[in-house]
Symmetry: C2
């Protein structure tokens, strides 16, 4: 079958011809419909994650997928059911308390594989197999947009963790701000727009720009961080009750605290490299304490968050999902899906349609 992967010697995605996988006991065989490309895929291609599947000299890319059950293989799934696979898997031959509890997103480094990222093949192939427990059913009429379930699930988890921190008191947030105008940032901006009175989205783009257009179509305010740094947002606009950091620009960890309103919370999702710089650590500490602020780091998501994400996706306007998908590439010619320029928001590799 056709698969898109990276090889140990290569530095770009290649079309591979590999064996169709056979589902093991407890696994179903899924025919792939669409697979999204995101920043993590570009990092995998650049070799930032490494971790090829053991004994393999290639890794199939892709972790944002939607497919249709081809062979339930006795798992209880129905043939023809549209499904979205989760990303984390037990390391070969092992399990651990996090997987047993259904919370693999809480497993520490080294206690999981991530399909298409570290230690396990991804979904960018004509077929894939997965334990049925990690295949989340989705309505057939959402199949086209099913590749958004994984990224939306990341925000479902982040919001759950962030809002839980504010449960002990009566929090009355009004303003939310998303740092990052990629597809995850824009999906999140819509989600936060459903409950916050005012939303902001921070990027580094000149107009005209397709993401700025979407930001404004969503009724949010675009903040150009080249003019207004994150810690200047309170002065330029207002203090922010909920900051959602999805860029991985390391200084944001500090700037987020200063941009927060009293009793605000910042969710951190970006993953920067080590970077030494000077901070006013006293004021950072002080500001967290005196204004009851919170910073919560969050990574990955589990089945429950995928289910929440499917509900959320059902409510999202179709124009938004259509506008986000800027490229639909064929496996025979995937190069356009890996172009990473200002015109690209979400690229998709399409293997099949319903």
């Amino acid at each position: 079958m056709k698969a898109i992967g990276v090889t140990r010697d290569g530095d770009e995605p290649e079309l591979l011809d590999i064996e169709r996988p056979e589902p093991a006991h407890g696994e179903a065989l899924v025919k792939t419909l669409r697979v999204g490309v995101d920043g993590t895929d570009h990092e995998v291609i650049a070799g930032a994650h490494g971790g090829y599947p053991e004994g393999e000299d290639y890794m199939i890319l892709g972790h944002e997928a939607v497919g249709v059950v081809e062979d339930p293989n006795g798992t209880g799934l129905e043939e023809g059911q549209v499904v979205v696979p989760t990303v984390r898997r037990k390391p070969d031959g092992e399990t651990n308390e996090y997987f047993r509890r259904g919370e693999p997103d809480m497993a520490p480094d080294g206690e999981y594989f991530e399909r298409g990222i570290v230690g396990a093949h991804g979904y960018m192939a004509e077929y894939f197999t997965s334990p049925a427990d990690f295949l989340v059913p989705i309505a057939a009429d959402l199949a086209e947009y099913g590749l958004f379930v994984e990224p939306v699930s990341i925000t479902e988890k982040a919001n759950e963790h962030a809002f839980a921190t504010r449960e002990p008191f009566e929090w009355r947030p009004e303003a939310a701000c998303v740092l990052g105008n990629g597809s995850l940032g824009l999906l999140t901006l819509w989600m936060l727009g459903q409950t916050f009175d005012r939303t902001y989205c921070v990027g580094r783009r000149d107009r005209p720009d397709p993401t700025v257009d979407i930001i404004e179509e969503l009724g949010a305010t675009y903040v150009d961080s080249r003019q207004t740094s994150v810690d200047q947002i309170p002065e330029a606009h207002e203090s922010i009750d909920y900051m959602y950091e999805a860029t991985g620009f390391a200084p944001h960890v500090v700037e987020t605290v200063h941009a927060l309103a009293p009793n605000g919370v910042g969710a951190l999702l970006g993953i920067p490299e080590p970077w030494d710089f000077e901070v006013d650590g006293g004021s950072l500490h002080n500001e967290l304490v005196l204004h009851n602020k919170c910073l919560v780091g969050t990574v990955n998501s589990h089945v429950k968050h995928f289910e929440y994400a499917i509900d959320t996706l059902e409510d999202m306007p179709e124009w938004l999902l259509d506008d986000l998908i800027t490229t639909v590439a064929d496996p025979e010619n995937v190069a356009p899906a890996f172009v990473d320029d200002d015109e690209q928001i979400k690229a998709v590799v399409e293997f099949d349609t319903l």
Copy 2:
């Protein structure tokens, strides 16, 4: 009546002779039993907080008090009821949403007075008045230790906020660490010892030392931060599920994140001055995200936390409370209560006994 206060021109606590306060409508008159001294009082004396009551050239010290109702003044309290006053009060002539909700601890800077700290007289006097809503009843047999209710309430709030952040998943913490071996740290160490399997307390003292003796009596491990910095705790001992920071040493905001186990939470309570230093902001951000860690700042407490604290105090061993009180001073000779050396843990000014 006798009161202990600081004056605008003075730089140490003085015995003042002032008018006994008259309770206004909704207030009761309380006869003071004991008032504790803590680090904040030393900061007030040093002028770090400022904020004398408007129009006054002195401020009565003290915010850790216990007293007995002398005149209920129609408030519904009973004469003779032992009570502990909370600390935050509405600024004169104003109110705000935080006070209306009973959550003055969540009010931002400028929207509250703190008795004995900023804008309002404290409790270190023969009598004080307070709105009855801010007087929390306590059993007479706890009166001697009632001055510990306020500091314990600070930890009740911190724990509530910290543990709420871990609610979205099945958190199974085992190790807790308190940064700071003052009376608040030692009270907290006992509290955490009730639910955590292993506890640590970080200080900077040579043995023999009375706080190290208490740490070990509590079954906790003493960590001398001159030998083992906070971020070295995982290597020297183990990673920590819950870090409680009560020193205000600014680098702890970063070191705490590195000392935390995956999915751990750090509560920050200390209040450092501004201090620029270099940090690896990338790794700080990264570590928060990849291991789902959380930092939560927390200040002050409200009536509910005082009520929790009274329950906690009932369970605390008497030897601990007795060992913590190293000085009981008379208002006529308070100097011993303001000595701040390694032999002092908690000093108390005693105005009366039951």
